[in-house]
Symmetry: C2
Subunit: 278 residues, 2 copies
């Protein structure tokens, strides 16, 4: 490949950040505190993995056309949804986190009320950007698939279950279900909507959705190890989880078969995610 | 009119409640606590004023056709949005209310984390129901207008300003601005989307939006008096606000001129709202 994966990803991030900057409200417009809180949380060093998957899924499905303005809108909306979920998850009554990516969480910096409202606003803005910037054909499908993926049968359901089982022993099956809802669903819809933006076949959309779900599962599993373990002396439990993450990544890469070499970047990204270099 | 306004409104409420019951997730599906919290808050004696305005706006615009399935979907989505806003506004870090309509607020009954998630879920569900039950033409417009009305330049912005000025003296101008964003915008979009569901002219859609905004302002003004005053000995301030509410109602009714007698019910409803019989 002409460009190293690292600089390729940097270029994607830069595109995504520019799009987000365009779509987010300016901080000198009222309500200023909410707009400041929104920009503080969105531009706080996120890795942009989900939006990168949207863009890459789109490119994989239409490798000879590099016009992917629709995918960039969807990518921005997905990152807004992801950021809203982090702001609300960090709240004192939820995971009660004071820091994220080394910086004070939104409620620590702007107060709880503003953090709740900033999250509400980002969720609302995600749907607003889709409805303002896409045509009805792609955009209406995006609203439907996205709202399904992040409601009580998706991301919010996963967070609710996670909280209800806090500090309780749960089965591996239940943990897998929580991870699927809380994390994998948003990855799944990211890859799916990238393919839909490209206007590809149903078969390829399904393949891309499967890729997204599996790569999301792998991502969450690696997260769990990083949260719970000391890397220098991995426990048996951590090794088991790492093996599961490897399996999920293999499944993700297998789902890409139908795309042939067009999906090479996406395969590299899946591998990079497993090794947490992205 | 054949039917008394009171029984007419009862019939509308019953239609809306049936639609909401159909669209809300069942409590025996996981995450059960969130689904219980959602149903608890939606079915807790709300007056359904906003969804009634959606339905009535639709009927006014197409008085000879009584097929208004689309308006009923939009009405349900608007009530979900309204309920989400109440759940989040009641939270300890916001208005810190223990009771609403004589019953414990959602966070009092289900805990704060579940209240935040139930609100998030209702907001998401509003967009999901629209995208699942409407065609792209009406539905995509509804997503756009609704998300505009409830974001930082609408409802959330109003709540943010309200909180930032808490216990501070503010000008009548600022108070009007807050009321407009926090309350009138959702009434405005309710009336507007009812007209859009009816497929009427741009001129009538604009007239209906103006009606909605004015009637929403009147509603919020009356609310302010009821919150702050003793009705048996009204203060000068309360009399002033009541006069403003009267003016707003007159403005609302004037906006309906273009509809002639087709808008008679809507005029009655505006009058009823001013007198708080609805």
């Amino acid at each position: 490949m002409a460009k190293s994966l690292k600089s390729y990803i940097e270029d994607s991030r830069s595109l995504i950040d520019k799009a987000l900057d365009k779509y987010l409200p300016e901080i000198d417009h009222e309500p200023k505190t909410i707009h400041r809180a929104i920009r503080y949380s969105v531009f706080s060093g996120g890795k942009r993995i989900r939006p990168i998957i949207v863009l890459e899924a789109c490119k994989t499905c239409m490798p000879r056309r590099h016009h992917f303005a629709d995918a960039l809108v969807i990518a921005s909306a997905i990152e807004m949804v992801h950021t809203y979920s982090l702001i609300h998850d960090d709240l004192p009554s939820m995971d009660d986190d004071d820091y994220r990516r080394g910086k004070p969480t939104v409620h620590k910096k702007f107060g709880e009320a503003n953090a709740i409202l900033a999250g509400d606003a980002l969720l609302t803005l995600a749907f607003n950007v889709i409805s303002k910037c896409l045509d009805a054909r792609t955009g209406f499908t995006a609203v439907k698939k996205l709202s399904e993926a992040i409601g009580t049968y998706g991301m919010v359901g996963g967070q609710a279950m996670d909280i209800s089982f806090k500090n309780k022993r749960i089965s591996a099956f239940t943990q897998k279900r929580i991870n699927n809802l809380k994390t994998a669903k948003l990855f799944e819809v990211s890859a799916k909507l990238g393919a839909i933006a490209a206007g590809t076949s149903d078969k390829k959309i399904r393949a891309m959705a499967e890729f997204g779900e599996s790569v999301g599962s792998a991502f969450q599993l690696v997260d769990d190890i990083m949260d719970s373990d000391n890397f220098s002396t991995p426990s048996l439990e951590a090794l088991k989880i790492r093996a599961l993450a490897g399996d999920a990544t293999i499944k993700a890469i297998s789902a890409l078969e139908v795309f042939g070499s067009d999906a090479d970047r996406l395969r590299e990204i899946a591998d990079f995610m497993l090794k947490r270099r992205i």
